[in-house]
């Protein structure tokens, strides 16, 4: 276990080396948060309630989505694919640690850094720019949100890991895999809350694993589910995290069995 903690710590430090880039990224995230919140606020000028979201809830959803995406890294994360292309994967596979666990530990370190240096500052910007709706039952919501956040990270990690594995089969994996990630920004409720979709589509999207990446933690934070609903929501998210990690593990085994290291 200690080795994984160490890997996570190293990943955190690696992020810290890019201090200025992180600051620039924070500025970009905040600016996009602003651009996206403005039309949303305009939408609420004509009606007070959209699918159960009032103005404050929608605004908070916007800033949450903007900040959550830095934790779940939907903008791209190709570290695994790069090692496959370079051949470094051979060394990683030779290490006496679990291959999936190795990458998960590193991603947890990266995500922890993003939580402190991106997620929290972006929410702070949101609070300054448009004011946020903070949990009304903090003692229940914050712990539930923490759990949801970790499960969202695991689900997103497993999905990104699977997309990266495409590099084992395809040299042109990047175009397809990028498409997979872009689709995720739509299907996860990042671009628009899943609640805004027509009911039939909404129920399909909520049943997919992608909802567990953005929509579920946002729903928990916004206290759109309580009591039994909340428990069920988290159970569903846990289910997806386990299933997706399972598929990722299986995918890694299939992929590495046919590994042929590229020279050079």
């Amino acid at each position: 276990m200690r080795v994984y903690a160490e890997l996570a710590r190293r990943a955190w430090q690696r992020q810290r080396a890019y201090g200025n880039a992180n600051l620039a990224g924070l500025f970009t995230n905040s600016f996009f948060g602003y651009i996206r919140v403005v039309p949303l606020m305009a939408a609420f000028a004509s009606r007070p309630d959209i699918s159960g979201y009032d103005r404050d809830v929608a605004i908070t959803w916007n800033w949450l989505a903007q900040s959550l995406i830095t934790i779940v890294a939907l903008w791209g994360w190709w570290d695994v694919a790069l090692t496959i292309r370079s051949g470094e994967v051979a060394i990683d596979l030779a290490r006496p640690i679990h291959y999936l666990g190795y990458w998960l530990a590193r991603d947890v370190g990266r995500a922890a850094y993003s939580t402190v240096y991106r997620f929290i500052p972006i929410l702070a910007v949101g609070q300054l720019v448009s004011g946020l709706r903070w949990p009304e039952a903090p003692w229940l919501t914050w712990p539930a949100f923490m759990c949801s956040l970790i499960l969202a990270l695991f689900t997103s990690f497993a999905w990104r890991f699977l997309l990266n594995l495409g590099a084992f089969w395809l040299t042109d994996y990047r175009a397809i895999a990028s498409l997979g990630l872009v689709a995720t920004t739509f299907l996860s409720g990042f671009l628009v809350p899943l609640a805004f979709f027509p009911p039939a589509i909404r129920s399909i999207l909520e049943a997919l694993p992608f909802a567990a990446i953005i929509q579920t933690p946002a729903t928990v934070f916004l206290e759109r589910a309580d009591g039994m609903d909340l428990a069920l929501l988290l159970a569903q998210q846990l289910g997806w995290a386990v299933v997706m990690l399972g598929i990722a593990h299986w995918g890694a085994q299939v992929a590495t069995r046919r590994v042929t290291v590229q020279g050079g």
């Binding site: 200025n20 620039a24 500025f27 039309p39 042109d172 175009a175 872009v182 671009l191 805004f196 979709f197």
Partner: protein
């Protein structure tokens, strides 16, 4: 002679054609990239339509009207991206020291960076923008368009492309001075096109001003779209009380001035360039 005063069209065309031919070698990969760019933007557009499924108007603009802004912004940006990629991708070259090689070659620096990339697959974004304009035109409530409307549209998209291209040049100049600033430039390039995809009048006053007078996004599509849609915009939105048509017609002057400024800033940055020591 300033480094950017020489432009070699014939050489540029040869390089660009060679580049496109190279990209076409992997036809499947190339088509997938076009599709990828198209779909990526289509998702964002559909997300906008989902929002419009819930409300009739955003700040007085219908879905079809916003779609016109969206389409114009995307088409302009796609052209700028295809031609401006050399400036956009400069940061890693500065970091690795590769850019120093550019400086020792007996060709203008601006031209070399400009000619170093041409991304034909950006046509995917252009086509998505065209789809949005097609959707905008499918509005039964809109006035029928004559040849003059289409000319205005083509003019505006071209002008908008120059404005975005100049922003990429400024981004390149920025990369020469600040090595870690890549993501900050995304705010102005990608952030700019996103901002221009919505009615400018929705945004707060400082942003409106900045998007009119500093980075002239308003001239990319907002003023031309007002003219095309027969809208006038809220009070105080139009500089000097000019009509949208006059503002749309003055857009090329604004775009060329902005490009001129960008090139001067670029030249100065090249002169002052110190490298990273790698």
């Amino acid at each position: 002679m300033t480094p950017s005063s020489v432009f070699l069209p014939a050489l540029y065309v040869r390089l660009a054609v060679a580049r496109v031919r190279g990209q076409m070698r992997y036809r499947v990969g190339f088509l997938l990239m076009i599709l990828g760019v198209f779909v990526a933007n289509a998702f964002e557009f559909v997300a906008l339509l989902v929002l419009f499924g819930q409300v009739k108007v955003l700040g007085g603009w219908s879905a079809h009207e916003v779609a016109l802004l969206w389409g114009m912004s995307q088409m302009s940006f796609a052209i700028a991206e295809a031609f401006g990629r050399g400036f956009e991708g400069l940061a890693p070259q500065v970091r690795s020291g590769e850019f120093d090689q550019v400086l020792v070659r007996p060709l203008p620096v601006f031209f070399q960076v400009f000619a170093s990339a041409f991304e034909a697959h950006r046509i995917g974004r252009f086509l998505q923008g065209a789809t949005a304009v097609w959707y905008a035109r499918s509005d039964p409530a809109s006035i029928p368009w004559q040849a003059s409307h289409w000319t205005t549209l083509i003019f505006a998209v071209t002008t908008g492309a120059v404005i975005f291209f100049a922003t990429f040049v400024l981004g390149g100049a920025w990369a020469l001075r600040v090595v870690d600033g890549q993501e900050l430039m995304n705010t102005f390039t990608y952030g700019g096109t996103t901002l221009a995809s919505y009615p400018l009048e929705l945004f707060s006053d400082p942003i409106r001003r900045a998007a009119t007078w500093i980075l002239p996004l308003a001239f990319v599509n907002y003023f031309p779209a007002l003219a095309l849609l027969g809208r006038v915009g809220p009070p105080g939105m139009l500089p000097f009380g000019l009509t949208p048509i006059i503002l749309a017609m003055s857009a090329p002057v604004v775009a060329m001035t902005y490009l001129g400024v960008a090139v001067v800033v670029w030249d100065r940055s090249v002169m002052r360039y110190q490298g990273t020591g790698t």
